[in-house]
Symmetry: C2
Subunit: 226 residues, 2 copies
């Protein structure tokens, strides 16, 4: 193994590819660029460098995937990120919507020994405050089997599991409306003409736009009693 730690920039690329490729498996460079707030040209360039280092595979004009090595490093960063989120939220009392950004800084400045010690301090938590699973120290990540609310249908009921991907604007909105993992949810109506999804969360009615519904995941339990 040549490198063992990378700089912030590389880590953010790997993390972002991992997030964007979570669904279809191929992260378009434009999405990468947009997500990282840089130009597509710069992203292409960086992807080449990462490719030379064996961290990503690039299919020209199609997109980027992580290699095994790349994925391992990405998961290490994600682990540190989510562990810090737990600490900041549970022990420092910082706001649910803020800890994501604070952790995004700390994740690049955390030695593995520190991450392990934080994990022990927290009691080896399984998920971050936003419900996303925390990889173990070997970079193994339990893929949750929930579904975005956008795929639920009227009548479906269950409980919210996570918000993904996380972004301040979305988290802030959800915090304001008291929407978070653990809350019960019932889909009451799907407005026509691609309109919003009407739901009840924790007993209160909400209208969720497409964007939002696609980023909130839940576990359907239609057979459960109300």
């Amino acid at each position: 193994m040549k490198h063992d730690s990378f700089n912030e920039s590389v880590e953010m690329y790997l993390k972002t590819v991992s997030e964007l490729a979570a669904g279809d498996g191929l992260a378009p460079i434009s999405a990468l660029a947009q997500h990282l707030g840089i130009s597509a040209v710069s992203a292409t360039e960086m992807v080449h460098r990462l490719g030379e280092q064996g961290l990503v595979d690039h299919v020209p004009y199609k997109g980027v995937t992580l290699t095994l090595t790349g994925a391992q490093h990405a998961y290490r960063v994600i682990r540190r990120h989510r562990l810090w989120e737990c600490f900041l939220s549970e022990h420092l009392g910082l706001g649910w919507q803020h800890v994501h950004d604070y952790a995004c800084q700390l994740e690049h400045a955390t030695a593995d020994e520190v991450a392990d010690a934080v994990a022990a301090f927290l009691g080896q938590p399984a998920v971050c405050p936003h419900g996303n699973p925390i990889p173990d120290r070997n970079g193994r990540l339990a893929e949750p089997d929930d579904e975005p609310l956008s795929e639920w249908r009227p009548g479906d009921r269950g409980s919210l599991s996570r918000v993904f991907p996380e972004s301040f604007l979305l988290l802030d909105y959800l915090a304001m409306h008291n929407i978070r993992p653990g809350r019960t949810v019932i889909v009451t109506e799907l407005a026509p003409f691609n309109g919003p999804m009407m739901v009840q969360i924790g007993g209160l009615p909400h209208a969720l736009g497409h964007e939002i519904a696609a980023h909130i995941y839940g576990i359907r339990q239609n057979d459960q009693p109300i």
Copy 2:
């Protein structure tokens, strides 16, 4: 106020100037360069840049001091550093000699709100695990009135207050010999020909070289009972 946060490089320069200028008030560029592990030419270059930004004053051929603005930023970094040290050492159980280096990474990735929350979590500690004072949120630092052991004379007694400046090799050595703030100390002998200083620390005899004795501070209490 133009900037509010700086990058790691700038922060390390400011912090290092603050440390080196702690005594005489003027940090020679050569010392800066050596401490940061870069060439003197590069350090000069960077000092110019920092000067243009109003963070340091440079007296050619003499050395560098912090401006008021520069000092404030330096103390903010030092505050974050020492707060993290407390947390890592007291709550995560990481070794006294290791936390300095871990904190040196975290100090550049910590928002002020996080630092304040850490301080509150820790109960507003006054000193780091190595005995050095923690600046308050306004960057005010209580200068301790202790003296390096190198200035003590045979017969002097008191208690260790701090290790300064901190470096892994020194801290590791001290940890190995159970020498740390709070321990009682008695100077028993000063070996001739500039030899080592013989002391008793926590009841055990030690021979301290010049380097080391100059970096360990204590408060003399010759009038105290043994």
